[in-house]
Amino acid sequence: MGLRGYVLRRTVYTVVLVFFVITLNYLIFEVMPGNPIDTLVNPNRLRDPSQLDALIRRFQLDQDPFTRYVYYVKNMLTFEFGQSYVTGQPVSSEILVRVVNTLSLLGISTVLAIVAGMTLGVYSAARRGGVFDSTQVTSSLVWGSLPTFWMGLVFILIFFYYLRWFPIGHVSPDAWALNPPNLATLAGVAEYIRGRLSHLFLPVTVLFLFQYGGFLLLTRATMIDALTEDYVLTARAKGLNERTVLFRHALKNASLPIITAIALTMGFIFSGAIITETVFSWEGMGQWIYRSIINTDYPAMQAIFYIIALMVILANFISDILIGFIDPRIKFG
């Protein structure tokens, strides 16, 4: 079996998993109490029963479960999630509004966390047992065990309440609602970037501190394994400088579990950070997810679970393919 076979196998597996997720999603919400009609109309106040029938037909509730399932799969594959019970807007447009905010928050923090975590992890492994190593391990454990919402509260207390360095709440200054910066002028662009960054700083910092420790510990562990290998000894014996040995030889070979972890993290980026977004009133996916769940907004919840699962499956698929390209052992395995 060559690379092509491996890719084919992963693709089939991924497609099966997607259908599995859609089916599960369908079943969960089929079992859950209530149906859309209950949310839309109060049957006691409905004068004309034919209206109810019309609604039932419109939502295909008169069809047998299998027909509805087929209809459901079709809608899921075309990203047709219906309308939010709460706002009445199409769910897909609700998502579009928030996904940019979430990606700017989690994208920045995750990329920073990966870069910092991997770099520090490599150096920690290289200086194993030293002061640098133990400081790094301890601090990443400490940051990782602090609850993010509490970190958020403390940051708000220090940097907003005491020091007044950063604003809190929402993705941009409140004043922009009335007069947004003029993006045609250079000063306006600078003002826009400054405003956005000042609002980004605290939540990004919280998420970064929470995330980087995991990458650091993972990189450190795999690097410690890799550094005992013979090819590292060979590389050192050749007289290569330490940085080349660490990054070009050891890290490349140690990177497989790291790539898997990165892929998984990237997959979850889309779902946002429920807690951090709640603490900072950040209008992102996480906050929306929480509100949808609490308001039992079923169309929104279905879309959320489907898209998150889809993203994670996709990320895993990409990481599998990547690993297949990087590690020649896997495609023949």
Partner: protein
């Protein structure tokens, strides 16, 4: 028996050995001591704090600052709790409890104060104010009596809230009696039935209290056996019975005839309706503050009198300038201008009446000076504001008065505040019930300039009851019982970590929160580990379809987003502590199951398993004797490292609002802080958050140390 003992000893030895290994690691020691500390908090919680974390509210004002902020002087302007009167809520419950109170009345011939052990509000014993019996035809007119107590307000800042309460019971006799049944409401129309007749024992042709009342069915003017006795002793048959047109009844069924069961009263004033006790009272409660009436207008707002600032005599005692006040020096301020107190503004009390003579004369002559060095004496360098300069060394005093900072009225026939205290009135008496009177206010609702308890001076808590003797036709005999009179001041500082939005003790919440966190962490981690172990061993050992099915299911659960799923499940199943534990346990086994499966797959191919199989050992034997012991190390490590996840997950759920409504956990403390304007109070948000972090960290550290000990291969490499 012996074998069991040996096994037990060996087990003990193993534990001791593991403990010694664990104790070698500094991290593990740190972790263990933290866990021991929090376990102690959790177990000893009821001993450590007298308060219930959820239900003991209003222990102090809401959002109170820790008490040590006040005692150590970290924050200025704070106050603590204060109870004016005995610390015991039920006062007047012993004769000695009357000391410390002052009693006075406008009519000393009539009103007397004494202790009564017979009745009480919350506990037996009360203050009995009796009014001397008055015969018919005269009148006491309007008179009043007052109960008061002075206390010193000892805190430098105003309180958050003050609450005063008392129970009053009025007993009036000599009004329209109820002969049978329970008293109807005042003004009830009553009807006559001539067959309701009485035995005129004293022959005065009028019914008197105690005389028997019968229902003369055949209307023949004599009592026969078989006729109904409505009230009193049954007379001998043949006893003559008389009609009194004032014996009337409440015609409940509107048939104009008395029926057994209907209430019978004696309508003294023959107005054909039942009248309540005819003594209207009005109750007033006050808090007065000692007050320097010589005040100034603080033009430059520095809280001290400066040369040139107008000085006035606040005759009204309002704290604001009004036309009745007298300007001592400077220009006349506008009406309503705030007048401030400077204790250095004093006067020479020439006529020794303890008042500045503006109280008695329109042209005051007593000298007012500014006692710059506040030594109570006039020195020649000090400023004279009015009058002639006294000789040096003359003593100067504050113009004493009192300032009513708070007043509450209860009109005679007005509605009392709705709480009723026990006991219910005795059946025969028509005295009123104990009326609970409750009043109070929040200082934050009052303007800062007339802040309640704004100064560390003497205050007086005073209750005045005004009695109006309106109807001289009938004799009056009245008494009052007064009990549970106290003023509680809720301070702005309390306890070790202050209070939350309902005035509940945050330290108690922290201590009891340790229970929730440890319970959730340990139980749900154990649940997750057990499930993981079961699924992993089953998949790994069985292989084939079972393995494939279980592992794909595991993969799928791993792909599902964790926190949203958690929120959905907890929200749907309604949040309770056991729901949260179960959901966390059932969502926390997947990673561990995969690891165990891998171990089981490799272990089952080992020679010792094959050997065991070849001698005919069953699956359960192999699993419990060969595979399980080999994965136990990993299990302990996972147990330790999955506790923090559960603790933080519970905290996160609580922070989002999905908490057990009957418990206060650390996460819920932070939720409260976030929702109820506590997020900027460090003593509120730091302790629970740090506790979550430290407790989680200590479990992680123990997990790492266990990993070192139980997986020696890794230890060598590290």
């Amino acid at each position: 028996m012996e074998a069991r003992e040996v096994r037990f000893r060996r087990g003990l030895g193993k534990i001791l050995h593991a403990w010694l290994l664990l104790a070698r690691s500094k991290r593990a020691l740190f972790g263990i001591s933290i866990i021991v500390f929090y376990s102690f908090l959790a177990i000893a919680a009821p001993i450590l704090t007298p308060y219930d974390p959820s239900f003991d509210s209003s222990l102090a004002f809401d959002h109170a600052v820790p008490e040590w902020y006040r005692t150590l002087g970290i924050q200025k302007g704070l106050s603590g709790n204060l109870v004016a009167g005995p610390q015991d809520v039920s006062n007047f419950n012993s004769p000695s409890s009357l000391t410390g109170w002052n009693f006075s009345t406008s009519n000393e011939q009539v009103v007397s104060f004494q202790y009564s052990s017979a009745e009480g509000g919350k506990a037996p014993g009360s203050l009995l104010v009796s009014i001397a019996p008055r015969p018919a035809g005269t009148s006491y007119g309007t008179f009043n009596f007052t109960i008061q107590r002075s206390f010193k307000y000892i805190y430098e800042g105003p309180p958050g809230k003050f609450v005063s309460s008392l129970s009053v019971r009025l007993r009036v006799t000599g009004d329209e009696p109820v002969i049978f049944g329970s008293a109807p409401s005042s003004g009830t129309v009553v009807a006559d039935d001539p067959r309701l007749r009485y035995v005129d024992s004293n022959g005065n042709n009028v019914w008197d209290s105690g005389e028997a009342l019968v229902f003369d069915v055949n209307n023949n003017g004599a009592f026969e056996s078989g006729e109904l006795i409505v009230s009193g002793q049954a007379p001998a048959p043949g006893t003559p019975v008389k009609d009194d047109s004032r014996i009337l009844f409440v015609d409940s069924n509107v048939n104009s005839l008395w029926n057994p069961g209907e209430v019978v009263i004696y309508d003294k004033n023959a107005n054909m309706q039942y009248d309540q006790p005819s003594t209207p009272i009005s109750t007033r409660s006050f808090i007065d503050q000692d007050y320097n009436r010589i005040r100034f207008v603080d033009s430059n707002d520095n809280n001290a009198w400066d040369d040139g600032e107008p000085v006035v005599y606040d005759k009204v005692g309002s704290g604001f300038f009004s036309s009745e006040d007298i300007v001592i020096s400077g220009s006349e301020p506008g009406s309503g201008t705030t007048l401030k107190d400077d204790p250095k503004l004093r006067f020479v009390d020439t006529n020794n009446n303890n008042r500045w003579d503006a109280e008695t004369s329109n042209t005051p002559t007593e000298t007012v000076v500014y006692d710059a060095n506040s030594n109570g004496l006039y020195d020649t360098s000090e400023t004279v504001l009015a009058g002639t300069a006294p000789s040096a060394g003359v003593s100067v005093e504050s113009a004493k008065g009192s300032f009513r900072i708070w007043e509450q009225h209860y009109p005679a026939d007005g509605v009392y505040p709705p709480s009723w205290f026990s006991p219910d009135p005795p059946v025969d008496s028509r005295s009123s019930k104990w009326k609970g009177i409750y009043f109070g206010g929040e200082s934050s609702l009052i303007r800062p300039e007339d802040q309640v308890f704004g100064q560390q001076v003497k205050y007086t808590l005073r209750l005045t009851i005004i009695v109006v003797d309106r109807d001289p036709t009938y004799p009056l005999q009245a008494s009052f019982n007064i009990d549970d009179y106290s003023l509680t001041i809720l301070g702005t500082s309390f306890g070790i970590f202050g209070t939350d939005q309902q005035g509940r003790d945050l330290f108690s919440q922290l201590v009891f929160g340790a229970r929730v966190s440890l319970l959730v962490g340990l139980v749900s981690a154990a649940l997750g580990v057990v499930i993981g172990l079961f699924v992993g061993l089953l998949a790994g050992f069985k292989g084939g379809v079972v393995d494939e099915g279980l592992m794909r299911f595991t993969d799928m659960l791993l792909v599902l987003p964790g926190l949203p799923l958690l929120i959905v499940l907890v929200a749907v199943l309604s949040p309770g502590i056991w729901t949260i534990i179960a959901v966390l346990g059932f969502l926390g086994w997947m990673g561990f199951a995969r690891v165990i499966r891998a171990q089981a797959v490799s272990l089952k191919e080992r020679p010792f398993v094959e050997a065991s199989k070849s001698v005919g050992a069953g699956t359960s034997h192999i699993i419990t004797r060969h595979i399980l012991p080999n994965v136990m190390g990993l299990t302990y490590v996972t147990l330790a490292t999955s506790v923090p996840g559960a603790i933080t997950a519970e905290a996160a759920l609580s922070f989002l609002g999905l908490f057990d409504p009957f418990l206060i956990s650390w996460g819920r403390m932070l939720f409260n802080a976030d929702v109820f304007q506590g997020f900027f109070l460090p003593w509120w948000i730091l302790p629970p958050g740090l506790s979550i972090a430290i407790l989680s960290l200590s479990f992680i550290l123990i997990g790492y140390a266990l990993d070192d000990i139980l997986n020696p291969r890794l230890r060598q490499r590290r």
